[in-house]
Structures are given as structure tokens and as C-alpha cells.
Amino acid sequence: MSYFDIEFAAVTDIGKIREKNEDNVLISSDLSLGIVADGMGGHSAGEIASNIAVSVLAETIRKINRKQLSVPETFLPRLTPTARKLLLAANLANEAIYSTAQTSDMYKMMGTTLTGVIFDEENATTVHVGDSRLYLFRNDKFVQITTDHSLAMEHVRQGLLTKEEANHSRVQNILTRAMGIKRSIEFDLLKFPVQIGDTLLLCSDGLYKGLSDVQIAKILREGESTPLVKLCKQLVRLSNERDGQDNISTVLIRILPPQKLTLKQRLKKLFSLSK
């Protein structure tokens, strides 16, 4: 029963030293969707991988919403419809990247991280793979929702490193999971109820390399009334000043109380299928 409005903002920046931006972001109010994908550099076309990830994911969800595509009934029937939709889209995106990667040496072994969040009436559902992150800022508290799929975090999980050590570890950059590397990969899927007033932050590793969690939280708290886009730009700028070694992408999502609807919107709501 809890309805809310969602405000999105996104900024992506090439950083100070990179020659291309391999990140891709997408925000869509229509789909209630925000995605950050960080393509992997090295030897291949990271920006292509992240582009495919973002566009295939969004397009699939759009098609499912329009009933041009339906989620097979056998596809994880115990999940919520939103989660199934998101996971199917992510799987298709992974396959698209993987098969593109097989077509040419230029694309060989390209890959991308993906962190996406989609909203339904009550919940935010997150799909996650790689080292992009989703943070939740709620009631002045700042929490990382996703777990990085990096070797460093694996070590943390095994108790071999502390979180603090992991943040400065060299193996933080070595991903244990990414899209496009295998035909089928495992995604982290998380669902949590959102509250009015929440701010969600999706970012690529560029952002948190430049800014610590404390600093990000501080910026978010001080910027509670600033426009989201401005806040996004501020985060990216500050991170760039401090580090700037990598591409920086930021998506900010704010959960707002439902707006007053116009007569037309009300009528639309009245006569449209309730979800």
C-alpha cells in the first residue's frame, strides 16, 4: 500500500587519467530502474560490455512490462515477479555479452560489473555482480547493501583480511565474478523494502576509491535538500579530486512521498490495472 515517487539522477565521468569511459549508467523513471555497469579494461572492449549490459537489461525489462516478452513460468517461480523479471534480464544481458565476446578478438574476454536496482510498490530489488556498489542512506545511516565480488572481499569473507585492509588491498581489483566471462553466471539478488526518505547510491569503484564511506555519508547528509543531480556531480567531483584513477559513475535515487497527481494521472490510475 505504500506508494512513493522516485527521483533519479546519474553522472558518469571519465576520471583524470583514463582515455575512455568504460562505465555505463542508466536511469529510467518509466521502468523504475537504475543501473551502473563498469566495463573491464585491460585487453578488451570494456565499454562495449557495459553498454550491452545496460541496454539489454533495460530493453528486456521494458519488453516484459509491455508484455512483448514473458518470463518463462519455470524460471525461478518462487521469486517475486519483479525479481524474476530483473534476473531474467540480467541473464539475457550476460549471454549477450558473452556471445558478443566470442565473435571477435577485439571483444575477447571483455566483461563488466553490474549493479542495478528496480522498484515495485514496496521494495527495491537489486541485481549485483562485480565490484560496483549499492549503498543505502536511511535515517542518517549509510550502509553498503551489496558485497563486492572481488578477491579482497572473498578474503574478508574467509577472515583472511579485515575490511579495512581489503580497501587498500591490491587484489581489490581482481574480480571473482563478472558478466560476460562465462555463459551463465551467478547474480546476487537482494530485496528490501524502501521507505520514504531513503537515498540509494549506485556507484562504480571509481567513486569509492576516491571517497570513503564516511565522506560519502557526510556529503549525502549535508545534501539532503540539494537537487540530486547536483549531489551526484558533487560526489563525482570530490572523488575525482582525491583519486581520479578510474572512471567514476554515480546514480542517486531518492524515495519521495507521492506527489499530488493531476486529474489526468488520477484518471489513468483509476482505470489502469492495479499492479
Binding site: 578488451s44 542518517d140 550502509v143 574467509q158 577472515g159 537482494l190 547528509r221
Partner: protein
Amino acid sequence: MSDNTSLVGKEISGCVILQKVAEGGMGAVYKARHKALNRIVCVKILSPSLANDKKAVELFLTEARAIAEIDHPNIVNVYNVGREQGYYFIVMSFIEGETLSQIIKKKKVLPLSQILELFEGVLLGLDAAHNKGIIHRDIKPSNILVTKEGQAKIVDFGIAKKMEKDKTTTKTTELAGTAYFIAPEQALGRDLDTRVDLYSVGASLYYVLTGQFPYRGKNTIDIIQKHINDPIPDPAAIRHDLPVWLSRAVQKLMAKTPEARFQTAKEAYLFFQRMRAEEQLKMEESSTGRIVNLAEEQPLRLVQEEKFQTTTVLQQQRALEKEMNSKPAVVNSSDLPVVLPGAMAPEPKKELRQDHVEANKPLNMQSTDQAKKIDVYQSRITPNIYKAKKIADKTIHFLLKISLLPSLLAVIIVAMGYIAYMWGKTASIHVVPHESFVENLVNAVLSTPYAPGQFTWMALSILAVILSFTLASAKAYGRSTIFLLFTIVTAFLAGLFAPNLPFWHAQFLGQFLFSPEYNLAYLLIALLGSLTLCFTLKRSIGQGILGVSLCAAVLVLTYLSTHLTIAPSSEYSFMMLPYLAILAGLLAAYYLISPTQRDSAFMPMMLLFMGVGCLWVYGISGLHENTIVTLETLTQKIQVKNSVLSKESKENKEIEKTAGIDSKREVFSSAINQSNEVSTMKQDESIVYIERQILRIAGEDTFNEEILPIYSRFLRDYYKGGAAKMNYHVWLYALGLPIDNFNENAVNNDVYTLLLVVLFLFAVVSCIGTIVMGENL
């Protein structure tokens, strides 16, 4: 790809590219001929996609230049480095031979002396590189080339460094290969020194000696973590002919901490040399018969060394265990950073683990408690408990909904209905029996000032109604609100037009139920109630109302069909019951199995339309038949009266038939219109005239008063245009019969008119609304 293949035949840095030899992550390796030196060389070209990456290029070049500085037989020689035609290249000596890993895969087991020979070479090569400050970082059998002469040559310096600087995944082939030989400190991302290569040499040596990787796991991460955690394996456990010193040496090379290993490649090399020499000596001595107790002396030293080694390993393991114990093995919510903006110290780790924090710094602890409440963590930590809880929650929610909502709704409905009823009853004093329905309605609402005694009641009632409606409407556009509105209107009208029946008298329930006025009203309420519940699931309100309205229309028609002025054809009444039963069954079944929302909304609509059509046909079925029967009866009576005329008709019939004369009509006309008056009269007069003629012919009591005008109209048509015209008019009239009938009935029951108007208004609004405004019909 085309870029690379097209390189064959090209000339780069004075080398003619001959063929592609291999391809790796960094680029491709070609066999080429150096024109000036006239010798075969190896040209490595940085992959074009990397050529744009400044960092990658820099790395490629600096490493290559560094290697070029080292001139060592165990390291591949670099002749030239640079950029030409947009390609970054390294020209190296071409080595005919195989990598160590290829050899192992082919031969499985190599003689011990050969292995030692090769690894001494590797150690020497590494020592030379280390002295220049170059760390290989990726020593593994596939990076050790073996020439035809049996000399080891190390290749691919600096690749691993590249891997660390840039993001990549362990799923890539390079790192997957590396994982079997990776040093713990490298896997942990700690600062590296030359000793990291020694670990990899140890692991490679283990592999070459035994043919097995030192650690195996289900995935790369598993293997990497075993390098960090698991006890050092003993190669002698697999290959039994190993001398003790060798297996100890391998273990020492693979020590978890760099301090426990040989400190330099040279040290390891020298140790190998000495041990082999001593072994050689021992063998020689024993063969010549001289007994020198070197064997005793030597192990003593080894034991000493081993002691040192094992203690460090133990210490290290203990330290690890300690670390593990102090830390929860599973990452749970309390381990996730919960940070308060403004809290300056970015070191919340230790605070978080404390169970109690002083009151003056509660910031982080509070937040962790709160953070735990988020479902994400719960589902991650204890999915089963969470699931169970969720089911329980759902059940409770459902039970609450079931038990609370309908009863609440019922209470509200009864209360609202009562108020509306009282209101209507109060207003009913203004009803003037012979005025129109609308006037009565308007009077009832507006006449308050003229009835001072009723004012308070009226005002209160109106206030209550408005208040309740507002409250109900708070649940924006709830279906229940519309249902409530219906109830109020119905109750009000019931009160207004039937003031003699008290609302609460239970003993009059039967009266209510079986009196036409209430019958319909209550049926509608019940139907609305059930349907609003039915339609709550995944339907637009517009569609819901449309469905409800159609259901109501069916009911109205059903009711009307049982009160037809002209009796329906008896055949149809038998058809009705099974038809309706089937209809209801289909509907119910469809709700259960409907695959999609759209279907589930569409199908019942279709069924309802069919139901309406069926009832309509049923309603009008009697009319045509009865008209024919009436005509027959009349003609017969006329014929009986004019029996004299009809006697000769038997012969005439044949003639009439061939001449196309309708004798029946002739008879009918002659009887009714003897003086041809009808054709000159106006329509109304002629109907009255015909009516009178019919009564005269058929007798006063043949037809009842209500139907006679209808029949006389048809008979006039028959007289004027024959059977075809009459039938046409009968059917035309029949189409509107239920409505006409309804209007006849509604003269006394204005409730019906209003209900029907409201219903169809709702239906039309919801139809149009759904079509025009609906987003996902």
C-alpha cells in the same frame, strides 16, 4: 583479428613477420626474421585494443627495457623495443622448444636431475632479474621455456603486475593458470618483494616433481585461499623417490610468509647446488667403499632448518587461527560498515565488535541494530527463518484482511444504509404521488426549509453521509467506496419511495425480499459486495465497475423477464436455467484458471454480454408468437361469424393461392374495415378504432387491457401492409420490450429507473475511461 593476421608479411623494426605463434592477453607473438642479423626472432606485439591504454603501453615498454638490460642465459633476450606503424613491439630471441607445462603434460614425469637442472637455471635467471629490482610475479611452468639443449628460459616478465593494476577477473585464463602458483602475499594483495617469485618457483617445482598442483579447489578463489590457508603439502607424499632435502626445500620455498622462505634466489640455488654435490659425493663415496658419515651430518643441519621452518609455520598458523577466531567467519550485518555522517573516524571496525558501547558514543551501535532490520541482511543470514516469518506474516495479514475487512465493510454498510434510509424516509413526506420521479427527488432534498421539524434529522443525516463518504474515499478510489455509494443511494431511495416499511424490522425481511422493490435493491447490494471482492484482484476499477454493472443489468433483466406483460414463449424458460448454470460455472472456472490478467477480465465480460443477450431474447420471445396467435384467434373468430362467406372458400382457396391473394388478410380487412374508414383516419384514432373492432369481434374478455393497444397496433400494420410489415414491427418493438416493460413497471417503482440509469452511467463511464485512459488494458 584481421589486424593481427594481416601483420604476417609485414616488416616491423627490420623484422619480417613470418607467422603467428601464440596469442595472449597482452598481445600476439609472431615468429619473424631479422633482416640485418638474418636470424629468426620472436616479435611480440601489444594488442591493438591495449595500444590506446597509456598505462598498458608504459608498462609494456618499461618492463621490456628492464629485461633488455639483463643479459642472462636463463632469461629470454630482448633485442629491441619500440613503436612502429602504430604497433608496440618487443623483439626477442626466438627459442625453439616447449614450455615446461607442455613437457609435463606430455611426459608426466621427468628425471630428477633434469628437473633440478632446469630449476637451478630458473633460480639463476631470477636472481639476475631480482638484482636489477625486477620481480616476475608470474612464475609458472608455462612461463618457463625449455630449449632443445635443455636450458630453462624465463619469459613474460611483468604480466602479473599488469593484472594487478587493471581490473580483470580471475576467470580469465591467465589468472586461472596463475592461481595454482600464486604466493599468499600476492593473493592477499600485500606489498611484494622478490621472495614472491620464490614461492612460485616452489609451487612450480612441486608441480613438475609430482605432476600435480600443490592445491586444488572447486574454483579459482578456493585455490587462491588454500595458498593462503592450507598447510604446505609435501611432494614426497606423492613422489616417493624424492630425497628428503628436496621435499623440505620445496616446502621451504612454499612457506606462507616470505621470511620463512629462502631469502634470495641465489640462496636457494646455492642450497640446491650444495645438496646435489653432497649427494653426488655420498654416492661416490659409497661406491668407492669409503664411509664418510655425511649422511648424519647433513640431516642434522636439515633438521635444524626444518625446525626453524616448522616453528614459523606453526606460529603463522596460530596467528591465522587467532585472526580467524577473533573474526566471524561469515560476514554478517554487523560487519558491514554502518557509518554516520559526521563521525570522523573511518575506523569503526573495532567499535562495531564491542558488545557494549558507552552511552556517550552510541552512534555506530545504534545504527547497526537498525541496519539489521533491513530484509536484505535477514535473508542473507537466515533465509529459512526469514521465509517462515514471511509466510507467517502473510497468513496473518490474509486472516486479518479476511476477518476484518468484510465485517468492517458490513458494519459501515449497515450504518450508512440505515442513515440513508432514514434520510430517505424523512424526506418521503415531500413525495407527491402523481408527480414525476425527478421532481419528487428534488423536492425531497430541497424541501428541508419547509419542514422545520425534520431539519435536524436531515442535516445530521447529510453530515453523516458526507463524513463517512469522505472517510471511505480516503482510501483513494477504493472499490468499497463505490459499493458504499451504491448502498447509500439504494437505501435512500428505498426510504424515500417506500416509507411504510421500517428498516430494522426483521420480521418484514420476507416482505422485503419478496417485494419487487427490495428484491432487486438487496440483490444488487449482495452482488456488488461479492463482486467488489472478486474484482479486487488485479483489475482496474473501471473494469470492475463495468463487470459489476453488467452483472446488475443481468439481474434487472432477469427480474423483468419474470414480470413480462406478455408471457414469454414457454420453450425458452426451460432453456434458461441450464444456460445460466453453465454461465455461472464457466465464470467460476475461468476465474480459477485464467492465465493472464487481460484474459481474466475479458472472458467474464463476454459471458455477461452473452447472458444479457440470452435474457433479452427470452424476454421478447413471447411477443412475436403471441401476436401470431392473436391474429389466428381473431381470424378464426371472424371466420366463424362470417361462416356463410367461408363456405364457398374451399374452392376459392386454390384460385387465391395461384392469384397470390392473401385470403386471411382479406377476411380480416373485410371484418375490421367494412366501410374503409381506417385508411382515412389518423394513426392514434385508427388504433383505437381497431381496438374497438377487435373487442367487438373477439369479445370483451379475450385480451387483457394492457396488451390490447400493442396488439391493435400490430393488427393495424397487418391490415395496412400485410404479414411482412407486421412481423417487422413486432420485432422492432420487441427489441425495446424489456425497457418498455421496465418503464411500465417503473411508473410505480422509481428506484428501478434510477438504479438502471446509475448502473448504465457507471458502465459507460468505466468503459470509456478504461478504453481512453487505461494504460494496460
